[in-house]
Amino acid sequence: MVAGEGVGVNWLIDFFGDPANWSGPDGIPVRLLEHLQFSALSLLLAVLIALPLGLWIGHTGKGALFAVLSANAARALPTLGLLVLIVLLMGVGTDIPVLIPLVALAVPPILVNTYEGIRGVDPELRDAAYGMGLRGGQVLGRVLVPVALPLILLGLRIAAIQVVSTATVAAYVGLGGLGRFIIDGLATKDFPRTIGGAVLVALLALAVQLGFTFIQRLVVSPGVSERQAVR
């Protein structure tokens, strides 16, 4: 057995095996819940902004350039830098400092994938939908969205995973979440704690990935994913 590997596993056993880490305000359940709260709230805000915008731009073809440019700009923002800046401007004490950079992180993948998904639907299909007598909103809701759903969900999944992984930065401004284990562990040279925190974040990201795979199966029509219908 390689020495380093043994140490790593031991650290994990140390961290996860310690009952003290499973209770109290600094326990795993509480930190996990905090982490999930930030992440879910950021994702929700990002969805509320990016999804309607992406649908509208994809459907009308208006503002496509704006969407791509602003999404690229948002992507280029350094999350941690933005966080520090906001804290300097607004002070600690509310959730807002954490939410803003996380939302900024989540908007581009949702916006771009939604827009590309809608825009990429076969023009013949769009044409047929209008030709049948569907109105604009019906074409979007009944045809374009169901057909573009895999790509829309992909955008949501990328955003969710990035948010969950990046929400660790909340710890920098004293706001809790799984990041606390990493930061505090580093500060006190308590490596089991740091590694344990990192593993928890990775597991959460994995869970999000699995969750989306499941949602995809559930909501995307077999006719779109071209799975043979079970019969």
């Binding site: 047929a128 030709g131 049948m132 071209e226």
Partner: protein
């Protein structure tokens, strides 16, 4: 009836796709728009259901200017079939067909029943109803496209090259199916194609368009083939226009001879002295068995002992002159056997008789 009244379409880039088109599409008939690529067929068609709005002129649907009708409402009353079928991939076949009934607010059961009825009508196996479009062949998808267009029983059907993307055998069967459906339904159909053979086969009337969106000629297929209006139409109709024309001439003008058929039970000795080189042998029910060459007959016995040569038939009063001519090519006697609907021999059309009929057709063509 659909009326084009001085309709012009000028696109934003200045292209004049349709130029002062005036024509009438009669109720209950198939009118085909045919012409080379880019001549404005699709544009003309799509102005009817306002997928494109005309720049000038009016299009009237039974006297009502389509511009006065809200487009989605207008379109729900007009069936529309396009080349790639354009089925909704996320919906099952039956739900695709029920699209317009749903939009019109029919209740679920009624819409579904109607969809199933139509799938059957267009010749689709009902087992396919719960499949998704990607699980169907191109030809099957096209049938679904037709069923979907017919679902709410619209009086008008617009079809834009609906059979162009399928292979020739499937295309032929889809064409037959459309003609069969039309015989039952009597819709007002505007059918767009670039294929003159398809136009001539399907159209009650054919409008030939030339590039720039001008109407070159509008006539019944037989007239079109017999008397093309100008060189453009003549060239577009192609080389074998003469032969194709015969598809529209009935065989009724062909004189039949009844003295060339003999029953198989007849003694060979009784026919040996005839002046005719070939005789058509029939069974006791008067169905054709084949031709026999008189000089090659055996010494004795009945005609049943002779080995019959191949023969070709046409159905009297139903087939065209082209079919009769075709039948002559199948037999060494160079004559065609005319049969009735149940396959019983009515007589023989000799080459001389067919020549006479062809002379009449050529005479009718003027030059």
């Amino acid at each position: 009836m659909i009326t084009f009244d001085g309709v012009t379409k000028r696109y934003a880039d200045g292209t004049v796709a349709v130029d002062h088109l005036s024509l009438e599409v009669p109720t209950g008939e198939i009118t085909v728009f045919v012409g080379p690529s880019g001549c404005g067929k699709t544009t003309s068609l799509r102005m009817i259901n306002r997928m494109i709005d005309a720049t000038e002129g009016r299009i009237l649907l039974d006297g009502v200017d389509v511009k006065t009708i809200d487009p989605p409402t207008l379109r729900r009353g007009i069936g529309y079939v396009i080349q790639q079928a354009g089925l909704f991939p996320h919906r099952k076949i039956v739900d695709n067909v029920a699209t317009v009934p749903h939009l019109l607010g029919w209740d679920r059961k009624k819409a579904r029943d109607r969809a199933m009825e139509l799938l059957e009508r267009v010749g689709l196996d009902l087992k396919l109803a719960d499949r998704y479009p990607f699980q169907l062949s191109g030809g099957q998808q096209q049938r679904v496209g037709v069923a979907r267009a017919l679902a709410a029983d619209p009086p008008v059907l617009l079809m834009d090259e609906p059979f162009s993307a399928v292979d020739p055998i499937v295309r032929a069967s889809l064409q037959e199916e459309l003609l069969r459906l039309q015989a039952e339904l009597n819709k007002t159909i505007v059918f767009v194609t670039h294929d003159i053979d398809e136009a001539v086969k399907l159209g009650d009337r054919v409008a030939v368009l030339r590039v720039g969106g001008h109407l070159a000629q509008l006539d019944a297929p037989s007239t079109l083939l017999a008397r093309p209006a100008d060189d453009f139409v003549r060239e577009f109709l192609g080389r074998d226009r003469g032969i194709r024309r015969l598809s529209f001439v009935t065989d009724e003008g062909v004189r039949l001879r009844t003295d060339l058929t003999v029953p198989a039970s007849a003694e060979i000795s009784s026919v040996r002295d005839t002046a005719e080189p070939w005789l058509a042998v029939v069974d006791e029910e008067n169905r054709p068995l084949g031709w026999v060459s008189v000089k090659d007959l055996p010494e004795s016995g009945t005609l049943a002992d002779a080995r019959p040569a191949p023969y070709g038939t046409f159905v009297r009063g139903r087939d065209s002159l082209r079919a009769a001519l075709d039948a002559t090519l199948l037999s060494p006697s160079r004559s065609a056997i005319a049969v009735d609907d149940s396959g019983r021999v009515e007589g023989v059309a000799t080459r001389e008789a067919l020549d006479e009929a062809l002379d009449k057709v050529a005479g009718g063509a003027g030059a």
